[in-house]
């Protein structure tokens, strides 16, 4: 049942899922399959589906459904699974707080504050966009400055154009997708400016969103000032040196009425902090075990709230694991605790999960710090002995590395911690 009125809900649930995006919806289904009877999914939006609802382009679902779907199609497929079952979804509802007894404090328009008891919680709040404030762009504060995702929402759901002549800062995939989207709607996209010497988005988006429409991409260049009183009138851009410092003597002005900012995502972790969960400073998300359990028993997390994923397909896989674990926890069938910590080593920014078990199969997600070709991924014990090695053709920071690890690999391992390195091959 989908409702916005908490009077239609139970007073207690086996599992409460916070967030009805792909992560929350997939987790809810998996929790029920694993033995939880009563499941509630809460979302602050007016409809379920999360950010996919506004991502109208295709490129989703190749792993999860074996075919290429648009965002709304992916969301509807997942939501159909939820609606077919006896799972409650409450929209227009905000989780204010989850206390130590796992009482969920819900705020709704219909009822104000209500309390719901949960045996297990799944955190699936997703992420928010970094804004101008995150990188301190100097200048005035006129209208016409949007994050790329906000512009996407205005165009694709509300049918509103953000402006007539736009400059894009940041070459992440959301920004590139919006460059094409605005062009198709008749907005002039003057150029994309990227601080780093390489583009952050997929080659597919560089070709199909920029090259197809002759939109210039300026690498090693950034916006250093915004001008305009009521509305953006122009921005000043400047090339940066090897230390990413703008070279102001080479700056130039670009007239525009709109600036779109696409400079990354931050996991949405206010609830995780209220719950005093351990947070990984690299991912900005909670530290999780191999069952996606956080540092508090019965609290699980999945999706972009844990770490920023490249593909929703990987979010789905992680969410199914988190949901299954929550269901088993409720059924009293949680597996034994992990016995190996993963320590990010050379050229590895982070690993998720943070711990694993030598008894089970795992998928480990990691992000590298710099691009490398013909390299290898090594797991080394604290004595320096290489336990496992896998050759990789290439790694890029913009593409998550995933490692499937069978229990047989760690069969004789009892050392407690493994360092993970992605480094040039020993044989050259």
């Amino acid at each position: 049942m989908i409702t916005s009125n908490p009077r239609h809900l139970r007073g207690s649930y086996d599992v409460v899922v916070v967030g009805a995006g792909p992560a929350g919806l997939e987790a809810a289904v998996a929790a029920q399959d694993a033995g939880a009877d009563h499941i509630l999914v809460v979302d602050r939006e007016t409809e379920a589906g999360g950010i996919l609802v506004q991502c109208i382009h295709s490129g989703f679902g190749l792993h999860r459904f074996g075919q290429e779907l648009t965002g709304p199609e992916y969301a509807q497929r997942v939501l159909t699974q939820v609606v077919k079952r006896n799972i409650d979804v409450v929209t227009d509802a905000f989780v204010l707080d989850v206390d130590r007894e796992r009482r969920v404090k819900l705020m709704t328009q219909e009822e104000g504050v209500s309390l719901i008891d949960a045996q297990a919680i799944v955190l699936a709040m997703g992420a928010r966009e970094r804004t101008r404030a995150a990188i301190h762009i100097p200048g005035t504060r006129p209208a016409g400055i949007f994050t790329a995702g906000m512009a996407q929402r205005l165009v694709n759901l509300y049918g509103l154009l953000p402006g007539r002549r736009a400059v894009l800062l940041g070459s992440g995939d959301i920004g590139l997708i919006m460059a094409r989207r605005l062009t198709l709607e008749g907005v002039e996209v003057v150029g994309v400016f990227e601080l780093m010497p390489y583009a952050n988005g997929l080659n597919r988006n560089i070709v199909q969103c920029l090259h197809d429409f002759d939109i210039p991409l300026h690498l090693s260049t950034t916006v250093v000032e915004i001008h305009g009183r009521d509305r953006v009138e122009k921005v000043t851009v400047a090339p940066v040196d090897a230390n990413l410092r703008p070279q102001m003597e080479r700056a130039w002005d670009v007239p525009c009425d709109t600036l779109l900012i696409s400079i990354g995502l931050i996991p949405e972790n206010e609830l995780s902090e209220q719950l005093r969960l351990r947070i990984d400073p690299m991912t900005n998300g909670p530290v999780v075990t191999s069952t996606m359990e956080c540092s508090r028993n019965g609290v699980f997390a999945c999706g972009n709230v844990v770490h920023i994923h490249d593909l929703v397909d990987f979010v789905s896989a992680e969410a199914m694991l988190a949901g299954r674990s929550a269901g088993r926890y409720v059924a009293g069938a949680a597996p034994p605790a992990d016995n190996v910590r993963l320590l990010p080593g050379e050229n590895v920014a982070y690993c998720v999960p943070h711990t694993i078990s030598t008894e089970r199969e795992h998928t480990i997600y990691m992000r590298t710090r710099r691009p490398l070709e013909a390299c290898s991924l090594r797991l080394t014990d604290l004595g320096g002995k290489v336990i496992y090695e896998k050759k990789l053709r290439y790694v890029f920071p913009a593409e998550m590395v995933n490692l499937k690890l069978r229990p047989a690999v760690l069969h004789h391992f009892h050392n407690g911690a493994l360092r993970v390195d992605v480094a040039p091959r020993a044989d050259g």
Partner: protein, 126 residues
């Protein structure tokens, strides 16, 4: 005999982003050589992109009596690349009314392109 013409493409198959080069004969436009790929898919992409580039079109159309002002749509098959802007331009005049089901044909043979636009979600009426 005049010189071969070389056209460059960026491969989209994987993050390596191979710089592909296609040599074609000046009059016949026949492909003489493909270079720069490091796998079979890269070579096939270069030939496809050089001879008949295609794109799936995704955009929105206006919708009345629905939760949102726009209904997302996509082409039911890839369209010729040079038709993409024409198709989107033609769709600016399309206006539908909720309810709509995912997969419903919203506009047929748009601008003579041979592709139909279909809804990519259910949109209940309200």
């Amino acid at each position: 005999m005049s010189e071969l013409v070389t056209v460059r493409y960026l491969c989209i198959g994987c993050p390596l982003g191979c710089r592909l080069e296609v040599d074609e004969a000046p009059e016949t436009h026949a492909i003489v050589e493909v270079r720069g790929f490091s796998c079979r898919r890269g070579k096939e992409y270069a030939i496809q992109e050089h001879t008949a580039p295609q794109r799936t079109v995704t955009t929105t159309v206006a919708i009345d009596h629905a939760r949102w002002a726009r209904l997302p749509v996509r082409s039911d098959r890839p369209a010729p690349k040079e038709m993409v802007l024409t198709i989107c331009h033609a769709l600016r005049h399309v206006r539908v009314t909720a309810p709509v089901k995912m997969g419903d044909v919203i506009a047929a043979n748009v601008a003579g392109s041979g592709v139909n636009m279909i809804a990519t979600r259910d949109m209940p009426g309200q």
